[in-house]
Every structure is written in structure tokens, then in C-alpha cells.
Symmetry: C2
Subunit: 369 residues, 2 copies
């Protein structure tokens, strides 16, 4: 185990990894697990003390230390994806006045607008300021404060967190002549092997087969990386093993809400040649006769021609993740809307209704096929 | 709508339903929705006042009225299936001293013994007396009490609930010459049509195709009946519609526990020609770094030769039903252990681990194939 060691170059022909100027290590197999980098906007001031991104444990520790050291009272978050939203919750929980600054109209652009509005209502209810349609020009240090300068005005805070997504860290691979896919991540096969025999890539730096869009995509999520690592370990130890891909399942918690999605959205569906139709319903997360009734909003997307299920998004205080997981299992095996419309679920009044929101949504969608 | 009307006979040839001696109604289509009857043991005293079964709303109302009228303080339940267990919770919640009397060793014989032990521990923790290996001989009224006489002794209570399961109510259909299946319920096709054209059966009195065992079975559950009714309504109104069957999903709540199962158990698997292997694990219902950690016990069953998933059972304070529903969706589409071992679920720490108990169980099971 060589820690704190920077690889400077990889020689594919000679099968060697160069460390600094002098040292090199030979390899039979090489695995890229270089991960992803947090995106920073190309604007002045993002390097100021008090500007953060959050990609790894060190980032988290640095941020936490800064909060304490500087006794921060307010936080500005640029972005409104799931890291931005989870951090909004974390900051509010720590008692910070928290503001989300976003280029778009609504948070969580992966989710349908109607579902994103539910998230926005929760943000507002929890005291988070959400500033939509803002274009950030730069950050300036003024006294103890950091000022976010936008086309639309200025706002000051004790720290700025940029949560604008990630890009695969592929410089080393690219320089070594390893092929990248259209996603910009390292192209691999089902054994996570790159175009060069014996060289592999796993996790955020690599591509993955998407079983719904049938494209190779970059899916920088922890569980996917974890599974690929395990798979490759087996493969390299001689076991028959392949990574079967993903269906795009993801989730996050936002205060009292669960938000979950799987499959592809209508835009992605169109881009790969499907003819998407969708329905959005509000259903009971548990049986309607039971105490503690809560609602879950559920969007279901399918291909009009074939009836194939394409995706599902859900938001609610309960039952969003569990339903999206059911749809993920269905998508994994190329299920149709008909399959979901009569799917046999473990019904009992404390846990749901005889007609689950999934059934109701699928029954609705059948009429649009 | 003719309520409080007893059909005495059905004339299939003349397409007529007889009501009493004199009246008859003609039909083009006839639907049997005669449901099921609660089983009563063939022993003396089961007709005594204070002896109950619980199959329908009237039963429930009668029981509730009796509890209040007689100011009942104790309840005896014969049986240990999900109705017995749910009623144990209901009685305890009402403050009654509650005793379960069971022929077997453990409650919930549909579930693996190790999972049933978890349920038994919960029963005990909640103050329910569980008497295993008891053989009931009769009921006697002695003063205000009802005495359950068993081979192994006697026990007194203010009421006795027999919860021994149900059998399909098929007398009318049988007398009319409608074919019954091996389950004893009315045999139907995918349109719920019986062997006589134009005569249908839905719900607890009918059979259903089991997509895992590939047999026609009787599955007397509310959600199945509900779906079949809807399906048949569509079919009779001229829509193309068929009932795609079940995978055996079921669940119940027992105080703080969720219990859920789907597919078939090892005994059923053997009986239809599979070669079952299984694994039972304890996993975290939510991410291990999160507060409120609880465990879920999960059993997974598959066919050794083909790797096909056959069933899943789960018990825990959280996450049992949701995981069984994922397996139900997988079973619906004939998934394999490999499918489940890398299934893409909506991971986030508040909702689960990157390696869900389902993944871990499936990974374990892969080694046994």
C-alpha cells in the first residue's frame, strides 16, 4: 500500500506506472480507480479561503473544521442537486442561515418540476432561502464575509459551497492513450476492462452500461463504484464475473422528504429514440385506514410504442425510496407497464393499499399507450 | 343490487340463478365471487356464545360488540397464522390478556423457523402467552368463562377466536358442475373464466396462476381479489384484459415488527421440482452510519440448478416489506440470483447501505449455486 504517492504517468507499452521523475512500478494488471473531481465554475474568487467543494472525506473534514474555527453563522450553496440539497439540510441542522443559489428555476433538475416543487416547499418550510435564476460571476472576500457576485445582485455569507456536480478524473488514463467514452469517462467492457488488455477502470472515472437507455454512461454514485470494485476483484482473481450495469437508481433525503428516481427521464428517453409518455399521481404511502397517513408523489414514464417501463421518480415523507426500488427491479428485467399494473406486492393495511400508488400510476399509464 | 338474497342453485344449461324455491334470474354472464369461509375445527363447543372466527366485516363488528358488552378481560386465540397474530396485537392493544394456542412449535409457519423465533420474541415481549404443541379437543362454557379443553390441559378466557385459515366457498359452483382445481377453488383461465363459457370466478373462491411455482393455486388475499375483480370488469366490458397471476407476496404487522414473504418456500419448491438452496442473513435496515439503526432478518431461496430466484422472507422493525417487494418485482420477471446480487437500488445512507441486505443475501446465495 503506497499512500501519499502521486502517479505522474503510465506507460502502457512497458506496463509501468511512473511515480515522480525517478521511480516506476511494473504491473501485469492496472486498475484506474481515480474517481471524479468536483466541478468549479470558471469565475474569479473560487480559491478564496471559505470556498469549498464536497467530494471526499478530506473535503468534509476541512469544511467541518472551518465551520467551527470561524464560528460560521451563514452558508451559501451554489447549485441545487442532491449534494447541494443534502448540505442545505446539514447546514440548517447546525443552525446556519442557509441560502441556495441556482441557475435554474427549481431544485433537483433530475426530477419532474411538480416533484421539485414539493422539495422547494420543504426547503422553504425549513427556512432555507432558495434563489432561482441566478448567474454567479465571482466570489469576493470582504472583511470576514464572502460575497457571491451574481448578474442579479450580491449576497454575503460566511462560506460558499460549490455543489455543481462532478466530472470523471481521467487525465492519467487519457494521457496513457486509454479510450474514453462519449460520457468523458473511461470506456470499459462488462469486465470493467478498457481498450487496453489488462488495464481496467472502476467507479466514478469509468463508464457503465445503462440497462434502460442501452447506452454506456457515467454514473458517479457510491454504490455503483462499490459493486464494480468488488466485481473486478473477483474477475482478477479468476472468477467468472461481469458487471451487469445500472438502471439509474438514486435517492436522497431532504429534511422530512425522501426523493428517489430510477430509469431515465423523458428528455433522456427522447434522446435515445423512445417515445415517452408519463403520468404523475399522488397516492397514500400507507393504507388509508391507518393513522399517520402521508402522501407520496409518483411519476412513471414508459415508451408509448412498446409499453416498456422507462423510469420512475417519487417524493414523499415515506414510501418514495421503497417504490422506486420496486421499479428498479422491474426495469432491471425489462418490465412493461402491464407488469407493474398488476404486480403482486406484499399488501397489508399498515404498509400500503391493495392498489398501491405504483399500481394506480401504471393503470393510468396503460391508457396512454 | 339484490342484498340479503340467497342463491340456492345455479342452472348452467338454462343460464339461470335460482333464489329460494320460486324465483330465478336469467344471466348471460355469471361471476362467482363467493369468497372463502373461515375454518372451524370439528370439535364440540365451537358454537358457544363467545366463540368467534374473523373473516368479514360482520364478524369483526360482532367481536367488537361482544368485547364491549361482556367487558372481556382475556382472549384465547387458536391458531398462529397472520390473522391470529394481527388479532393478538389488537387484543393486547385493547388491554386484554391474550393467549395464542398453536398446534405447531412456532408462529407463522409460512416463515422460516429462525424468522418465526423473532416473531415469538416480539409476542413474548408484548405480553402475549404463546402455547405451542397444543391439541384442542373442545370448548366448554363454565359460568362466564369459556374453557378451551386441550390434550395438554385446560385454559379459560372470556372469548375464543379460531384463526385457522380459510377454505374457498365453492358449494354453489360445485353443485352447478363448475370444475374445481386441485386447490379446491374454482379453476379459471387468465380471463377468470371457468370451464363453462360465460361463467367466471374471482377472489378467494377462485384459483390464480403462481408465476414462481407455475401452478394454479388458491391465494385468498384481499389485494389479489381486488385486482381480479377489476380485471374481470374490464374483460366483460370488452377490453383486452387478462390476470397475469401472483408471486405469493404477503405481509403483516406484529406490534413493532414487519413480516413479509414472497415466492415459494423450500417445501413448495421441492414439491414442484426445484432444487432449493437458501441463505438467511441479518442486515442493516438503514445505513449503518445513521441514527435509529435496526436490523432486518432476510431469507432468500433459489433453485440450485438454474440460479432462478424462488422466494424471500423478511422480518424486522423496518425494511422487511420494502425488500420483499423488490424481490416480488424480480420474481415477477423470472430474475436470477445474479440479477439480485448486483441489482441497482436507490442508495443513500439514510435509507440503506451501498450493499443492501438483499445484495448480501444474493451474493451469499451465489456461492451455493
Amino acid at each position: 500500500m503506497r499512500l501519499n504517492t502521486k502517479v505522474t504517468r503510465i506507460d502502457v507499452e512497458k506496463k509501468a506506472v511512473h511515480i515522480g521523475e525517478k521511480e516506476s512500478l511494473p504491473f501485469d494488471y492496472l486498475v484506474f480507480a481515480t474517481g471524479a473531481k468536483a466541478l468549479l465554475p470558471p469565475i474569479p474568487g473560487v480559491g478564496e479561503e471559505g470556498c469549498f467543494t464536497l467530494k471526499n472525506l478530506v473535503d468534509g473534514r476541512n469544511l467541518k473544521a472551518y465551520l467551527k474555527e470561524k464560528n460560521c453563522r451563514s452558508a451559501l450553496i451554489v447549485g441545487a442537486g442532491f449534494i447541494a440539497l443534502e448540505m442545505a439540510e446539514a447546514f440548517v441542522t447546525l443552525g446556519l442561515k442557509t441560502t441556495l443559489v441556482h441557475r435554474g428555476e427549481l431544485p433537483a433538475s433530475r426530477w419532474d418540476g411538480d416533484l421539485a416543487k414539493v422539495m422547494l416547499a420543504e426547503l422553504t418550510a425549513q427556512g432555507v432561502d432558495f434563489l432561482p435564476r441566478r448567474h454567479v460571476l465571482g466570489v469576493e472576500k470582504r472583511g470576514k464575509s464572502l460575497v457571491l457576485v451574481m448578474e442579479e445582485g450580491e449576497i454575503a455569507g460566511d462560506l460558499v459551497l460549490f455543489a455543481l456536480g462532478v466530472k470523471p478524473a481521467v487525465e492519467l488514463a487519457k494521457e496513457a492513450g486509454i479510450r474514453l467514452g462519449v460520457s468523458g469517462a473511461v470506456a470499459v467492457n462488462f469486465h470493467q476492462e478498457t481498450n487496453v488488455a489488462g488495464i481496467y477502470a472502476v467507479g466514478d472515472c469509468s463508464e457503465t452500461f445503462h440497462r434502460v437507455s442501452r447506452r454506456w454512461v457515467n454514473m458517479p454514485l457510491g454504490d455503483v463504484a462499490n459493486k464494480q470494485g468488488r466485481l473486478l476483484g473477483r474477475h482478477l482473481s479468476g472468477e467468472a464475473a461481469y458487471f451487469p450495469g445500472v438502471v439509474g437508481a438514486q435517492s436522497f433525503k431532504l429534511f422530512k422528504l425522501e426523493a428517489a428516481a430510477t430509469g431515465i427521464d423523458e428528455k433522456e428517453a427522447l434522446s435515445v429514440g423512445f417515445d415517452p409518455v408519463s403520468t404523475l399521481i399522488w397516492g397514500n404511502a400507507i393504507g388509508s385506514a391507518m393513522p399517520g397517513l402521508t402522501q407520496v408523489a409518483l411519476k412513471l414514464i414508459a415508451d408509448k410504442g412498446s409499453g416498456m417501463l422507462l423510469g420512475c421518480q417519487a417524493v414523499g415523507q415515506k414510501g418514495a425510496v421503497s417504490r422506486v426500488n420496486v421499479v428498479s427491479a422491474a426495469l432491471w428485467r425489462q418490465a412493461t407497464v402491464d407488469d407493474l399494473a398488476f404486480l403482486d406486492l406484499a399488501y397489508a393495511p399498515p404498509f400500503g393499499a391493495a392498489w398501491d400508488p405504483l399500481h394506480i400510476a401504471a393503470q393510468n399509464l396503460m391508457k396512454l399507450l
